[in-house]
Symmetry: C2
Subunit: 472 residues, 2 copies
């Protein structure tokens, strides 16, 4: 049975059940996404103020079989927030931004789905606590979307993905029922893990309306360093040494290839380059340590040991907050430089840590068979997660390579799959990677996913086409 459009009759019935001014038309920003691959058609937009409003919306949509597309900050990179065609109702969480409670003594915070990540971080900091989720789009990304996509970022190494930071959820299920699951418990073994099923389901099994989030002690002392390494294998050797010395004190361990520095020089010359010329590979390390330890001294000792072993060739330990910020600026602005250069194909992949050093050159070698490209390989190497993005050589544009895109993606993803990796490490499946999921996912798991979707959302109204192909 096909879905029905969110037409005037539906909207009129919906208005009658909701507070005034809940239904509007979508603005341009609701119909675009950062990479410009998807564009939604003009659509109605719901701006609920509460889980109850969301429940009313979902209940009527389920009855009438109208497609619903949830939107948080709209920063997703895989098109999960944009449905092209099908006349859906967009459900925005822009009005549900409250931090409902902070429990510093419990290291817990409760936020609504529309709370912006930076605001949650600030609320935690105000209570002398750390909410460790941190990524480039933290000024716009919202909690509901971050959880629905199980967002990663730079602190996963130490604190885990978004999934690991969530203790409980309030969510509206595909029937319109509200699940009141905002528990503040570290241990709760009462039945199936619905929380983790909704996290990462990208709105296809229910809409998260609020979450209880884990907070952490703020590290007493922090330190940041950049170290030049000859190759990715040396970066992993350095990581092993860092873990052996500093244990869980390593908060971030990011890899930056020379191409990243080249792109910054080309497109954003105002960004300070700490090494000139740029080394083949650079590692950015953040540490957070307990009272009584000296982070700078620890990083300097790590450098000395690694230098003696030949796995680092140069290094800078930040001497101030400003310098630490400058180091991070390099890493954080690479995605912007990438956009200005224009990728032919971008890949958010992970492989087992032991396979990383082989993956990077093997990928480049295989891509050479398709054509001449520049690969900007950077990211969360400590997690085995790289952004492995393929660009035209200077003088050519992405438009020149339109016909190569599928072959490039296939080449990179096949290699990832051979190595036991994931073709979506932290960005999710959205609509971009539905085909990849069908190609690479274990058939037994894929069948189970489809059975769960059919059982919980029999009408197929919840973000149709995201994660799984929409049924007719």
């Amino acid at each position: 049975m096909p879905l029905s459009p969110a037409d005037d009759a539906f909207l009129s019935d919906l208005r009658a059940r909701l507070p005034d001014d809940t239904i509007r038309r979508a603005e341009a920003r609701h119909l675009e996404e950062p990479r410009g691959r998807w564009r939604g058609a003009d659509a109605p937009l719901a701006l609920p103020r509460s889980a109850k409003d969301v429940s009313e919306i979902v209940r009527l949509a389920a009855e009438r079989r109208v497609a619903l597309v949830p939107q948080g900050g709209g920063t997703g990179l895989v098109g999960g927030q944009i449905m092209q065609g099908g006349a859906p109702l967009i459900v925005s969480f822009d009005r549900m931004t409250a931090i409902r409670a902070v429990h510093p003594e419990e290291y817990v915070l409760t936020a609504e789905a529309g709370a912006v990540l930076a605001d949650v971080q600030a609320a935690a900091q105000e209570a002398d606590r750390l909410f460790p989720l941190s990524l480039a789009s933290e000024g716009s990304a919202r909690i509901g979307g971050l959880l629905s996509t199980n967002a990663g970022g730079v602190n996963v190494l130490r604190y885990g993905n978004a999934r690991d930071l969530c203790l409980g959820l309030e969510a509206v299920l595909p029937s319109g029922e509200i699940w009141h699951g905002l528990r503040r418990l570290r241990k709760d073994n009462t039945g199936y893990d619905l929380k983790n099923l909704l996290i990462g389901a990208e709105g296809s099994l229910g809409f998260i309306t609020a979450a209880t989030l884990r907070l952490f002690p703020r590290p007493a002392v922090t330190g940041t360093a950049l170290m030049a390494v000859p190759d990715p294998r040396a970066a992993l050797d350095l990581y092993a040494r860092a873990r052996a010395r500093l244990g869980e004190g390593v908060s971030a361990f990011e890899l930056i290839g020379r191409t990243g520095f080249d792109f910054l020089a080309e497109t954003l010359p105002e960004v300070r380059r700490p090494f000139d010329p740029a080394p083949a590979w650079t590692v950015l390390i953040d540490v957070g340590m307990a009272q009584g330890l000296d982070a700078q001294a620890a990083l300097e000792a790590l450098f000395a040991e690694a230098f003696d072993a030949g796995c680092v060739t140069d290094g800078l330990v930040a001497q101030s907050e400003t310098q630490a910020h400058d180091f991070w600026e390099v890493r954080e602005r690479i995605p912007e430089a990438n956009r200005l250069i224009g990728a032919v194909s971008s890949h958010d992949i992970s492989v087992p840590l032991g396979a990383i050093a082989d993956f990077i050159p093997e990928g480049i070698a295989r891509l050479k068979k398709i054509g001449d490209f520049r690969v900007n390989c950077f990211g969360h190497v400590g997690d085995g997660n790289l952004h492995y993005n393929v660009f035209p050589v200077p003088g050519r544009s992405r438009a020149d390579h339109e016909g190569d895109r599928d072959a490039i993606k296939r080449c990179v993803h096949d290699l990832v799959h051979e190595m036991g990796g994931s073709v979506s490490a932290e960005h999710g499946v959205g609509r971009l990677k539905v085909d990849d999921l069908e190609r690479y996912q274990d058939p037994a798991k894929l069948g189970t996913m489809r059975a769960i979707k059919a059982a919980l959302d029999p009408g197929g109204i919840m973000n149709p086409g995201a994660v799984l192909r929409a049924r007719d």
Copy 2:
């Protein structure tokens, strides 16, 4: 449609599909559980050697609608491993005990479902790594059961539940299909979280056959202390001070009430009592710290600060491994003392950390209205998880209180529920708490659980009656 018995015809067809000597009769140990509440009838037993064997068993059972009951080490406390009646086939993982691989550089280990926890800990240690899951039954409990029940234990505070220690699974789904999900990835956002759905489902959605597990750096220095506190509120104050001083260095924070010491003196007088007379409340603290720190000094400084603030009245910092072992002996043997005394009703509950100090006396006050009892309240107070067990007063036996059991359980669980807590913090639901789940679980979540069970296991063959009531 009712289930069919695992009769001779079924077993004969099954034998034809499996290697020799896979099907036997269950021994006594397969039909009992530690608290003696459930006892299975004589039943056939399958001893598969591989996921393929398990797959054959499940496939035929699904076709013939024969109930299957999985068994690991049989240490579960809620009857998840025993089906009374219904003529099931018991599936034991005693032969699937291999540690398939250790990847020290990746901090990952792959073990089969039947591997005993202590053996996994030892394999990690041999590679200079830590597998932090630790609980009293670690000498018998097996990985498959530990994951299926999302086991907790004493290190959850720092390292999380069993769920948090698992990167990937191999499992046989209710159709008999094998899910090959043994990934070694920290980040993998390719679809619904089937791993976490199977973890904690107690075999009712599939049988785990192997898992990739996370390892950690072994803390460079460790320390153990016992501190006497006047009341539970002071224990929580001490915990807050410990976290502020030591951050994530606190590995375990356990509460022991005076009743626990009384029970040890009464039943296991050989256990050394560190304080005599026993204080009203004692806290056992374990810390694990980075190179360059002094764990003993840190614990002594914590004691000095807390003593000055009036929240501890006495303390002992272990001066040797032996002494640390003695301190832990007190904590670890309390469950044995409890069994020797004989509880009327045992409760594995959690409440938000901020509610713990009110919960303990309020529970005692409410129980007084039912009768005179001794409450042994002990456990993982840092997680908000207490074992709140109710015993007869001296001179009376549990048999004298048979008629009080339901009222006691209801009294404790109602209070937990009022306080936003969980009636099963770490032991699971099994068959013991199916009623509680129906009473206290959010109806929207419970409905979703039932829909998932019906969709994935339409024949209802996977551990029927565990977690959810068996359908007719």
